[in-house]
Amino acid sequence: MEIAQIATIASKEFWDRIRNRWVLAVALVFTAFALVIAYFGAAQQGSVGFRSIDITIASLVSLVIYLIPLIALVLGFDAIVGERERGSLDLLLSMPITRLELLLGKYLGLAAALAFSTIAGFGLVAIVLSARLDLNALYHYFGFMLSSVLLGCAFLSLAVMLSVFAADRTRASGLAIATWFFFVLVFDLLLLGALVVTGGQWGGEIFPYLLLANPADVFRILNIFSLDDVRTLYGLTTVFPPALANPWLLGLVMLAWIVVPLGIASWRFRT
């Protein structure tokens, strides 16, 4: 494997997103939402203005869990199928580059663009709020940013996998939207439904592990579990056993959500 080839593809993908202002637009969206949530997130409780980092992070988590998977899927769904459909894939593959290098370069370039806009967008808010945050709060906020990047990388990995499997861009975009619906909207409802229908008899033991089968839930657990104020506000995560709520373990699960879809993609893309 030649790192230089991966870097060439990755830097093209990254600079393409900088030049077409994709990174700027996404960063601005994140900054705007984060500021609004920080100052007005508690409006339901009858007050405005920044209150606590716990509540802010909890509100941001609810937002990010919808937004980042969507952005990552939209960013990555045509990574390969787009080149294939436009007719530029053959030329790329005729270069002294392996298919794995091309795939990794695409992924890393897009991941860098997504990570950069996430960190820039939320980081700006951290700077604005920094005067009101103690070290512990900053630590939590930093954890939130890092896990947001991981969440984005996991869904980007799924998107790149779809872009290898899909026959054309239209189908890839359909699959991307279906993936978003499944993990972000349907998955928890299914689990909840199973729990309710069986009167709580079914799956009590394996339930926490099933939550790990959804990167969005892993992200939620990572962020909410350590915040005592809000843990009880987030239904499903309360069933999660504290023994499993180790951030390193959850981080590893997130990494698996990045590596496994990419692995499947590279297997499918090998010829």
């Binding site: 230089a4 436009r86 030329l91 593959l93 005729s94 010829t271």
Partner: protein, 313 residues
């Protein structure tokens, strides 16, 4: 690997060798048992109908898709083998209907491909100049015409001074002037020892320009050789157009009566004679004996198009 490629002094040695190559997609036999050897330094044409298997064969020669059976070697190394990087650094490829990146400028496009090929980005500007795009170097590809994109695609193929060029329909979208200068560039590259494999639909365009060619139909190579070899293989008749005064028509007819001539047609001021290739010299000698009554004589050899249809029908 570099050293195992024939050197420039080995012009004429087999450089690209396909052996028993097949590519089957289920029941579709896109390429069905092709043997080819393309020699170092030659300009080799690959012609055939759409769907004859040219592009599939091309992609296999580049190592983009693996053959179902058989193997393809460049300079002795398998194109999909461990040495594939070294093989590809010696190859330039211009795909049919090349698609480049609209958001990059011409110069940035070449920088990108130069980095992938491990070539100094400093080569980009001179290469653009070589294809006549120096004036558009800083314009985005989005603003390029079809012909300019094609030339930029050709420039990309020329990066890194490749020993071998694979050009799939390279003159699509070029105007006659650009086609001339394109072939002039190819001739110059040939004099530098570059081997070129080219496909084209426009048979008249390549018939005078390739050293040898292969005709593909239904996934098989039907014939290969020089244009003249192929004419002889397919054995199509020649046409003579003999300009004579009307009163001499009969003299021509009787002069040729003892020869194996297929047809003689009288027109306003000339006689058309169709004959087999082996009768060609005898016909010319017989006409020469008509003592100056023949005012002009043209021989029309079967064109590459005639030859092509002779093989593919």
């Amino acid at each position: 690997m570099e050293s195992s490629l024939p050197s420039l002094n080995d012009a004429g040695a087999p450089l690209i060798v396909a052996h028993g190559v097949r590519k089957h997609y289920g029941n579709i036999h896109a390429v069905d048992g092709v043997d080819l050897d393309i020699r170092s330094g030659e300009l080799f044409g690959l012609i055939g109908h759409n769907g004859a298997g040219k592009s599939t064969l091309f992609k296999m020669m580049l190592g983009l898709i693996p053959p179902t059976a058989g193997d393809i070697r460049i300079g002795g190394a398998l194109v999909t083998g461990r040495d594939f990087r070294a093989v590809r650094r010696t190859v330039g490829y211009l795909p049919e209907n090349v698609v480049l990146y609209d958001n990059l400028t011409g110069l940035e496009t070449l920088w990108f491909f130069a980095r992938l090929k491990g070539v100094s980005p400093a080569q980009a500007a001179p290469t653009l100049e070589r294809v006549g795009l120096a004036h558009a170097a800083k314009r985005r590809v989005r603003e390029y015409s079809k012909g300019m994109r094609q030339r930029l695609g050709f420039a990309q193929a020329l990066l890194g001074k490749p020993r071998i060029l694979f050009l799939d329909e390279p003159t699509t979208g070029l105007d006659p002037e650009a086609i001339r200068s394109f072939y002039a560039t190819l001739r110059q590259l040939r004099s530098e020892g570059v081997t070129t494999v080219i496909t084209s639909h426009i048979l008249a365009e390549i018939q005078e320009r390739v050293d040898r060619l292969a005709i593909m139909t239904a996934g098989k190579v039907q014939a290969r050789g020089t244009v003249q070899d192929l004419r002889e293989q397919v054995d199509l008749p020649l046409w003579f157009s003999v300009r004579v005064a009307k009163e001499d028509f009969e003299a021509v007819r009787s002069a040729l009566s003892h020869l194996q001539v297929d047809a003689i047609e009288a027109h306003d001021d000339h006689v058309k004679v169709r004959c087999r290739r082996e009768a060609k010299m005898a016909v010319i000698e017989a006409l020469a004996r008509l003592d100056g009554r023949v005012r002009d004589l043209t021989v029309r050899e079967p064109s590459l198009e005639d030859v092509f249809f002779g093989f593919s029908d």
